[in-house]
Symmetry: C2
Subunit: 457 residues, 2 copies
Amino acid sequence: MIKDLNEIFKSYESFIGTEVTIQGWIRNHRKQKDFGFIDLNDGTCFETLQVVYGNNLDEFDDIQKMHIGSAISATGKIVASPKEGQKIEMELLSIVLEGDCPEDFPIQPKRHTREFLREQAYLRPRTNLFGAVFRVRSIAAYAIHKYFQDNGFVYFHAPLITASDCEGAGEMFQVTTLPIDKINEEVDYSKDFFGKMANLTVSGQLEAETFAMAYKKVYTFGPTFRAENSNTKTHASEFWMIEPEMAFCDLEGDMDIMEDMLKYVVKYVLDHAPSEMDFFDKFVENGLKDKLNKLINSNFVRIDHKDVITILKEANVKWEFAPEYGEDIAKEHEKYITEYFGGPVFIKNWPKDIKAFYMKQNDDNETVAAVDLEVPGAGELIGGSQREENYEKLVARMKEMNIEPESMDWYLNLRRYGGCVHSGFGMGFERLLIYLTGVDNIRDVIPYPRTPKNCEY
Amino acid sequence: MIKDLNEIFKSYESFIGTEVTIQGWIRNHRKQKDFGFIDLNDGTCFETLQVVYGNNLDEFDDIQKMHIGSAISATGKIVASPKEGQKIEMELLSIVLEGDCPEDFPIQPKRHTREFLREQAYLRPRTNLFGAVFRVRSIAAYAIHKYFQDNGFVYFHAPLITASDCEGAGEMFQVTTLPIDKINEEVDYSKDFFGKMANLTVSGQLEAETFAMAYKKVYTFGPTFRAENSNTKTHASEFWMIEPEMAFCDLEGDMDIMEDMLKYVVKYVLDHAPSEMDFFDKFVENGLKDKLNKLINSNFVRIDHKDVITILKEANVKWEFAPEYGEDIAKEHEKYITEYFGGPVFIKNWPKDIKAFYMKQNDDNETVAAVDLEVPGAGELIGGSQREENYEKLVARMKEMNIEPESMDWYLNLRRYGGCVHSGFGMGFERLLIYLTGVDNIRDVIPYPRTPKNCEY
């Protein structure tokens, strides 16, 4: 009977004494004169199964020649293991070599640097570290869907190719079927595929708002793109975003959902990937699980931007960037403020001049109802805002910021056709994964990362 | 107490006699001299709640002026409804106009053509038809995630921007930050963002195979792109695909999963969107629910391509395209064969010359282990294959088809480094939605469709 390893480990006691077949890959192979041990992983869980074989088997000599990385089908009896730290092992009865693997296979049972493994991106999920990272990526993605679906949100697929560049959230990639030339002359976009200039989206928010005005609660979860020429640990040209949008919801309600969602997703991952999280806790970020459990059990602080500036100014710290009312805050400030409060902090009501045109203008005429969630050890994890629902105020703000209202009549019309108080937020999925795993480079939490001058596979 | 309508309808009996507030939009408003009826929809379900008000309310005159499309908060008592076909209604106590809507609001309570609504894409989810379509889209997407996650598949995010054009599945969009010109001269791609020519992916399959060799069972669910200049009901330039990939799985196992997955998703949607499916059954495709229930309860036929050709040749039908051994089959053939068997049909073992290079070559040297699932009323819904795991055979086939093996060394290496029998398939998400809803134009199942010369929002 062919079984997946995750099934067997989940209820290992019921398998003791039974004969099963496992199909997977040899992670390690230790050979003695009269017996040997194969660590078999089939990809369905983090754990490997130790397969014990002896020279009583006819194929003993052939088995001893089997290489690390090879695909095998191993049939044997599951027995209680005498080895400490492992509940069960397999006494091998027969084995089939499904696919050999030469000895120059790059992934050997030793420590490889992450930089080396990045060069072998298509093989790295076969390691403990990346096997865990991309399983957690899958589980976290599902947790996000489950949270929103269980709470009545409609999943909205925002368009990826877009002709509108309104948010100004970042540099865009152009999408074309025209021949490309290095000389910039007059281009006749009427001859391009869409009959106009088209780009890859930087955010699905504005389109999500249109659906929020029909379904009340919607969320996107899809790829977004930035053509910024920055080579940092946290920038990628292609990444996935979650952008919920809620009608009849103000900034306080927005924060309620952010907090509830984040706690849910963190708890779901801790519950559903215990081995992976133990591994990260032990080998990637000491204290990771404590950090995450603390987040689940904390009440997130809510504080105005100006009060944060006051705290920063009064702090007995020599800042690299002096904190100032009306200005953005730096990484060092984010760090200080989460440590100051000992937990996650919502910083709200930001100076309007450093925020986007669509954010709700507060009565003070200086701030907007925007919020950033800062978490210990990661800084900004989520950004959101109440959206300006007043047609005239929105038009005036667009003009101030040199955005042509005519180019966005559909967006403005949402304020004319049964508009209401509404809010939303955006969470970068990879930023969440960095926080969840402790793996600190965005290139290591995306299967095939795209960055400047890098587009392999 | 603010409540969502779906909560109230779900356990309406427990709400009778209680006072609640509903926030949503006026779908219809019928006024009499001394009373009136508002049909209120809040987007959380298909149903509207009838709100009854009388001239005992101080605000009676103001309420009577409220327009269709306006956003309101209505507070009142839920009571059993005397009207046939509706269980409950609300006796209004007070109302707040959250956002007015002018009388020229394009969505009025009358029949609009789908063509007209396509021009108002950002408002169409506020209609019964599109409200139902995009809710079913969300539910079906979740059902797909749930099926694969519950069955131990890892969700894999394939890259969208890609430098490899190997599948040859379709025309590609180019992605660039270079200036674009209409003259095609020598282009120095080393100066482009990724340092080489980059395109939008047409399929994540090849990359998914790399993860299947680590996790055994993976699936993609993400956008794919085709720059084909075709204006048909079934072609879009941007659409979502599901591409599962399984190691240690042959063509029979592949079909098992296709059949199991499809039945699960269809049943999930019928169970979780009963009102929407009733609506489609009544107003879009008569017999839709019977069709879907029949699929759930059928055993899918499995038949070789050559036997299908024999049946077609022996049929007493005057074909527009004559069926022929070794050739593709036409829409009319697909239709005939599903009617012949009275249900879904897997057509397998296709002539190798009309299929892709990566498909497993059968021993007859004429066919490959490919399969298409044909369903009654929709034709091909899923296509899959066992993948060629033999390195030499794969290289030979690539050369025959003028694909440079050097350009795909990573893909070939999967056959060297512990390769094994493996299979996968691809399902166009919109094709599934067309099948599920009876809505027959792909432009009507995508929130913001992209087609040649069309890229609005």
